[in-house]
Structures are given as structure tokens and as C-alpha cells.
């Protein structure tokens, strides 16, 4: 089983216990189309179907054999409790760096590493790497290391947004992650295999560290990025006191904008995939950020200024000019 979800409905009057299996897509489509008000669900054993009525509408849906439904894992013990809102926000920021390419399944997940009172979430698609540290409210008895599919986490973030729980609990029974958010329990298989040793991918030192206002930089990158179409890169030209962001798409046009930047030294030109760069900038929340660079071929690092809980490493596009 890839992902599983159980939802307890409260506002329900149950006349008799039972279990039925219905085709999911169909039931969801029907439910969405029903008028407001009560829905009644009745099993009709003789016909082997379920009668669903709402307002004047009546549906008879053939049921599927219950034994065909996969077994959900047992809930694990001693769950870790995570504050819900920061978790959802971290997922939004980290999961986008996860790969969507099933060829390397390991990279389609988000690594959860927790030790003591610190949780670290990491994702990379091999072009960029996103790392977020979160302080937990209590100290863990044991360490956690689990690679959770990003798809499942995006689902979890949606559930948190809908349900608005204060906390989410996480437990890790055999090769599964189980998240409980209010009345919803989300199961996901874990991705097997060794997640890349991400720490050694982040250089220890950089030649240049340039502090820039986050909003302005994001705005300029989006503006100029419009002319970086069809895989054309967004070029960052650093010169004394100035950063020029430029883009050019052959047969479409070009664009450039200069912003003041506390840069000194030899001019440096480095190019990035505009989407990777913009997503990195979006993931930073502080007013000011720092770009750390060494050369046009070495990765750049984006970090917030004033807190050390987030890092976004991005590989440049090599220009052959």
C-alpha cells in the first residue's frame, strides 16, 4: 500500500454496524454533486449494493468485496508529537525540492531525521537540496530516521490545512509512517534504501556571502525570469556593489535589472534554473537573506538571516560562453 487514509466522521447516526467497500472515485464524485443536507446510506444485501439517498436523488451502487481492501498497519506506539502548523509549512517548503522522477525513488521522499528535541527534514532532486530544522517540544526517547514519500506529505499538508488540528502525531511502525491529524489518520509506506548523506553536499565555506532583501530579490527574479523560457537560465552578475539579474530567450527577447548589493571582489556570473531559484527564495521567510557562492560551477546556498533553521542549496547551470 502506497498511501492510506482513515477518517472518522462524527456527526453521524449509525443504526447498525457494518463494513462496505465502494469505488472511491465514483463515491467522491457523487458526494460532491449532492445537494446540501443529510445523506443516508443503506446496505441492501439481497441486491448486493448500497442505496445512497440525498434530497430526491437515489443511487444504487454495487459494492466491492471488502476482503479486497488492503489491511492497514497497526498504529505504532509512542508517537512523536509535532506542532501542526509549522509542520505543514515545513512540508510546503521542503517537499518541493523532492524529485518527481520515479527513476530514483529515494529522491522522491522527504527524509525525517529526529534526535533529542530536534527534527530535521531534507529533500533533494539532485539539483537542489532543502533542509529545515524544527525544535520539538519534548525530547525523544529514541532517534528517528524515515524517508516519507513527498506525495503523502503534500496530502498531509492539505489535511492539516482543512482540519486545522493543533498537533500531528507521527509513529513509525514497520516500514510505515502513520500521521494522525485530528479525526484523520494518514498511512504511508516508507521509501526503502539509503538517503544520500546530505550533510556532505553542503560546502563548509564559500568565497562570497551577499546579504539581500528577500522580497525585492524575489520580485526581480520573477520579473526577469519571464524572459528565461524554454530552459533558459536566469543569470546573476555580481560586480562591485551591484547585482544584475538577466535572462534571454532566443527569438523571444531579453531582460535585465540591477539591484544594489554589498558585493566586493572580482565580478562573478552564475546562472540558475529560474524555477529552482524562485522556489528557494519563496521558501525563505525572513526580510533579509544571504546568498553564499564560490564559483559559477559550485552550488549556491540561500539562507535566512537571523535564524539558522533553513538552508536551500542549488546547483548552477553551467554556461558555455
Amino acid at each position: 500500500m502506497e498511501v492510506g487514509l482513515t477518517v472518522a466522521l462524527t456527526n453521524v447516526a449509525v443504526d447498525s454496524d457494518g463494513t462496505i467497500l465502494l469505488p472511491g472515485r465514483l463515491v467522491a464524485d457523487i458526494t460532491r454533486s449532492l445537494p446540501d443536507g443529510e445523506v443516508s446510506v443503506a446496505v441492501r444485501p439481497e441486491q448486493g449494493d448500497v442505496e445512497l439517498t440525498a434530497g430526491g436523488a437515489c443511487f444504487h451502487l454495487r459494492t466491492l468485496p471488502v476482503e479486497d481492501f488492503p489491511r492497514f498497519p497497526e498504529l505504532g506506539e509512542s508517537p512523536v508529537t509535532l506542532p501542526a502548523a509549522p509542520l505543514a509549512e515545513t512540508i510546503d517548503r521542503v517537499a518541493r525540492a523532492a524529485s518527481r522522477d520515479e527513476v530514483r525513488p529515494i529522491l522522491t521522499g522527504v527524509l525525517f531525521q529526529a534526535e533529542g528535541a530536534k527534527l530535521t527534514m531534507v529533500a533533494t532532486d539532485s539539483y537542489r537540496l532543502s533542509v529545515k530544522h524544527t525544535e520539538l517540544e519534548s525530547t525523544l526517547a529514541e532517534t528517528i530516521e524515515a524517508n516519507v514519500p513527498a506525495r503523502a506529505l503534500r496530502e498531509l499538508a492539505r489535511i492539516i490545512a482543512q482540519q486545522g488540528p493543533d498537533e500531528v502525531s507521527l509513529s513509525l511502525p514497520r516500514n510505515q509512517a502513520v500521521f494522525r491529524a485530528g479525526p484523520v489518520v494518514l498511512f504511508s509506506r516508507l521509501i526503502e534504501g539509503q538517503f544520500p548523506s546530505w550533510r556532505q553536499l553542503i560546502p563548509e565555506s564559500f568565497e562570497h556571502e551577499v546579504r539581500l532583501p528577500r522580497d525585492e530579490l524575489l520580485e526581480v527574479a520573477r520579473r526577469i525570469g519571464q524572459l528565461a523560457q524554454r530552459n533558459a537560465p536566469l543569470r546573476f552578475g555580481f560586480a562591485e556593489g551591484q547585482l544584475t539579474i538577466a535572462a534571454e530567450t532566443p527569438e523571444v527577447g531579453d531582460a535585465a535589472e540591477a539591484v544594489p548589493a554589498p558585493y566586493s571582489g572580482e565580478p562573478l556570473e552564475i546562472a540558475f534554473n529560474p524555477q529552482f531559484l524562485v522556489e528557494g527564495l519563496e521558501s525563505i521567510e525572513t526580510d533579509e537573506l544571504v546568498i553564499k557562492l564560490s564559483s559559477p560551477l559550485r552550488p549556491g546556498l540561500l539562507e535566512p538571516v537571523g535564524r539558522e533553521d533553513f538552508s536551500y542549496l542549488v546547483m548552477p547551470i553551467r554556461l558555455n560562453v
Partner: protein, 365 residues
Amino acid sequence: MAAWRAWPRIFAHVDMDAFFVSVELLRRPELRGQPVIVATGTDATARGVVMAASYEARRFGVHSALPLAVAHRRCPRAVLLPRNLELYRRASAQVMEVLRRFSDRIEVAGLDEAYLDLSGSPTPKARARQLKRDVRAATGLICSVGLAPNKLLAKIASDLEKPDGLCLLEPDGMLEAVGDRPATLIPGVGERTAERLAGLGIRTVADLAAAEDPALQRALGPRLGHALRERARGHDERPVVTGRERKSESRETTFQADVTDAATLRGTLDELVDSVCRGLAAGARSGRTVTLKIRLRPFRTHTRSKTIDEPTRDPERVRAIARELLAAFELDAPVRLLGVGVSSLAADAQRLGSAPVQGALAIEA
């Protein structure tokens, strides 16, 4: 209003009609109207397969991949021409050059086919007609074009009105067009998947389109089953992949008569290695994995590979590895086929020209 106006994207699949044969006929016009077969050899009594057949020859049941001996039985008066891949490559390059005038989003899917993204074109059907005219004017060759909101349907459409066809196909028309064809028509349904589907009673495209999710998922896993059914319903999200990179460079040869002599094998191996290395040099690429392919009588195919640290296309180096693999192979039967390939390719940095390259983190996986 034409249906395509509502399509968010428009793809064209251009498929050359009887490509190899048509290219041959350009220099042998006297053979027009006759059954013509391009094959791996011209001795109808020896081993060899049909690579292409003219429409005249197809009427006799001759098609590509047919053993030459069978083709000869079916149509003894067909003219056999030996294949000339270099000639077809040149013709293909000319065709692709014409296609590039119609879109810069073009995916070359083979010597004789390509996908074009024509999204945004206000008059795609007129563009397709112009494209067919231009290809014919520039090369003397005829093609069929399929227009559709996705690649899958475009490919199916190009086949519907062959030769010299131009056909529009929407998802709704999929089952009417190919519903009764085997499910293997759907990209992603290979032999093994087809077997599993057959276990569910699913044999045709229409069966697959009508299949229930739970059953498919049990047989094929959660994602694949769903994805294949969506394709059978005419839905396909694959984009046009421009500048497709070659994954390997390989050559193989089928012996006219089975070979047991080690010297003959080595000689053939050396020729194959040289040809592979020339191919790599032409594409400015080198590779790290050398693969030897051997088919023994009656029909057992084996491969052996070795990977080295640094990419190479040096014939000496590749030859040494290929010979080592051959020497280590236990030949317990005569050899029908020998092949050499180099994969794990890397492009030469200095030959990349002005194309920018996205760097990657040093992740081992």
C-alpha cells in the same frame, strides 16, 4: 467550430511512410510500383530480417521484422535491397530540418518519426498540410501526420490514414479508432504487462479502458495500473522531449551462418568496436560501460558488461574490454549474433557549444 480549438495543447506526430523503401526509391525510381523490400541482407535463403517493405510488398503480407526467408516465400518477385543506414540517416536529418521550421519543440522519436508541439498555432491543420508539402518538396518523401491534444493520440492518429494521411483524433475517438486492437498498442504495456492484463481478461485497448481500478492496481501496482488505463482512455500527459539524449551506442551483426571459429568472432568484434567508437566520436560522447551481446544457437541471448571509471571512446580501450568479455564467455554452442555497445554516456564538455547545462549535486544513487 473545429474541435481542436478547445484543446489546451496540440501535438503533431509525423510518421514517414515506408521510410527506408521510399528513400531507396528516390535513387531507383524504376522500381516504383513494384514490391520492394529493404532487408539486413539480400540473400533470401540466408538469415536476415525485413527492415521495411513497400506498400506493394505489404499486400503480400510482408512487413518489417519478418524473417527474410518468410518474406521471400510470400512474395518471391519482390526486389530485395540491402539496407543502407547511412543513406537513411542523411534523409532523416533533411526531414527533421524541415520539421524544425514548424516548431522548436520537436522530439525526434526515430529516424522516421517525430513529435511536434504545435500548441498556440491558430491553424494547426493548415500547418500540418504545409508541413507535408514542405517535406515532400525538400526531400521527395511522403509522410502521415496525426494531430491530437496529446502525444499518444497523435501517434495513433498518424497511423489511421496512412499513407499520405492527415488525421485529427480526440480522446473520445480513441476507442472507436483502436478499441479492438491489442492492449500492447498502449505505450507502457509490454509483453509482461500484457500477460498480467490477460490474467484479468484484459486483451484489447477497450478492455483496458473499461478496467476497474482495484483489479488493475492489484495486478500492476498502484500507479502503473491507473496510468495505463488513463492512456487507454486517450489521456496522456507526456510532454515533447526536445534534444533527446542517446543512452547508448551499439552495433550488432547476425552471421549469415553460425560461427564457431574464435578468430572470426574476434575479427567481427573488432569491426563492431570500431563502428561503435566512430558513432561515439560523431556524437562527441564517451561511455563507461562496455556490453557484449552474444546469441547462441538456437536462440539464447546473453549479455556481459564491464564498467570502467573514466568514460572512453578509444577503440583500443573498448576493444580490450570487449575481447576480455568475449574471452571470459563460455561458448558452448555456435554463435548466431554478436553485438557491442557502450553506455553510461557522457558528453564531451568542450563540444557542447553554447547549450547551458544544469549542474547536479554529487549524489550517489
